[in-house]
Amino acid sequence: MRSDALAFLMLALLLGGAFNIATVYAYEKRVRVYAVGSSFFPLVDPSTVYCIMNRDYVAWFLDPSIKVNYPAAYEVRITIWQDGMPVNPWGGQGDVVFNSARPYQDGDIIATGIVDNRAGIWKYTVDVLDITGALIATNDPHMQVTEAVGGILIPVDRLALFAPYIGLASTILVSTSATVIYIKHVRRRKEKQ
């Protein structure tokens, strides 16, 4: 997971120069995770955890634009629900815990995962823990990801539309022909007699 995250970061750096997320991920949803209901002094501000979601994957990372001296956060725990159902883009069940050998830094990718179906209301809890495993801060944001309000117009299959009419015409034709042939046959027989 860490190697994926590093590759992700490297690509971002290569493409975006100064790690300009808005430029690099032009087609991605970038949703700010807002801190809510945090009554204690946030040593690490979970509101700086961003979520990116595009067609293929979802990624959480620390906001690189806010330069704050974070204390040593070594662990981030993310629990996700989509439309009220627990979702785990990394496979398995329950909370997903990500550890770092060093304290998380600005712009660090915490995690990336694959999402099959993006549409829905996503809720996720982000808990940030220090090296001792003590909860430093928590955040409980949500966002709604929706699909495009479009579809595809399929050309009408005219032959299929005509099929019942062709069938009806054919049966009428066959029955009429059969009647005519039968009547002729009967007449011919009577004439012979």
Binding site: A148, V149, G150, L153, I154, V156, D157, T171, H185
Partner: protein, 291 residues
């Protein structure tokens, strides 16, 4: 004597052969007729079977405020409520319109049938908000078509399908593939009963103005302006933009050009599809909705 008996025996044989042939002919004939009757009944039923009665003309919900001006009417046609519901948007839009003294009719997804569109003009709405899925062909070519919530069938609305008034629209939502009847511009021109009375149409679906054929059809039926997106758009973005647009158009009485420009400045293009709001015809840019 023996020869006579033999002769009679041959005649009887021939007669019985002929009788047998006659019976076989009658049996074949009756079989063909029976088969024809059965097939005719089947095809007749297929062609003539009435589509399920899906015509709802009454709105799901109507404004009940007492001080509303009954001359000002607006409709929210929420076909998206079936797949992408957003009650917050509906409430916001209704509030904006009611505060401007509009009587608001809300139509939920199940009511948005072919017959619903057919009778849409009979209500004389000043503003129609079409929160509906819309589509173009897979290769990006016209026509622009609006989804109904009436499941597609080759046996229903056959004439309209052959006349290119209705089509088959397909979408995938939550991994589920579905096909519905779609209303083409030809349907708007030829099948809508009545005319718009300088109505403003806000079409919230994708590609409403990627091609102008649908907008032209609405203009031909008397619509003052048709506002929509020039590409694909996500539900959340179109909801956000439309709420802002309504605020500018209805509450602040801005012209269509100002309202569209200001909305785009505020919400920006769709982040994923880069589409923007536009309006048709361009002469309607200076029009402001009367209150």
């Amino acid at each position: 004597m023996k020869t006579k008996e033999k002769r009679l025996g041959t005649k009887a044989q021939i007669r019985s052969e002929k009788e047998k042939e006659r019976r076989i002919a009658v049996a074949i004939f009756l079989t063909i007729i029976l088969l024809s009757v059965a097939l005719s009944a089947y095809f007749g039923y297929t062609i003539l079977s009435p589509s399920p009665d899906l015509s709802f003309t009454e709105p799901t919900q109507q404004s009940k405020a007492e001080n509303l001006n009954l001359k000002l009417k607006a409709a929210i046609v929420d076909q998206l409520s079936l797949t992408l519901p957003n009650q917050t948007f509906i409430q916001t839009a209704t509030d904006i319109l009611e505060q401007a003294n509009y009587c608001v009719d809300y139509y939920s997804g199940v009511r948005v049938t072919v017959d619903f569109y057919r009778n849409l003009l009979t209500h004389a709405y000043n503003i129609i908000i079409l929160r509906v899925h819309s589509c173009i062909r897979e290769d990006g070519s016209p026509p622009v078509a609006f989804f109904t919530s009436e499941p597609y069938s080759q046996n229903s609305h056959v004439y309209e399908q052959l006349a290119d008034e209705l089509g088959e629209a397909h979408y995938v939502v939550g991994g589920k593939e579905e096909d519905y009847f779609a209303v083409n511009p030809n349907f708007v021109v030829k099948c809508l009963n009545g005319r718009f009375q300088n109505s403003v149409i806000i079409m919230m679906g994708c590609n409403g103005l990627t091609h102008t054929d649908m907008a032209e059809a609405f203009a031909e039926k008397g619509a003052k302006a048709y506002i929509s997106w020039n590409g694909s758009v996500s539900a959340s973005h179109t909801d956000e933009a439309t709420a802002q647009l309504l605020q500018h158009l209805v509450t602040e009485s801005q012209t269509i050009r100002q309202a569209v420009d200001n909305t785009m400045k505020e919400v920006g293009p769709d982040q994923e599809y880069n589409s923007t709001l536009d309006y048709y015809p361009h002469e309607s840019g200076n029009y402001a909705i009367q209150r």
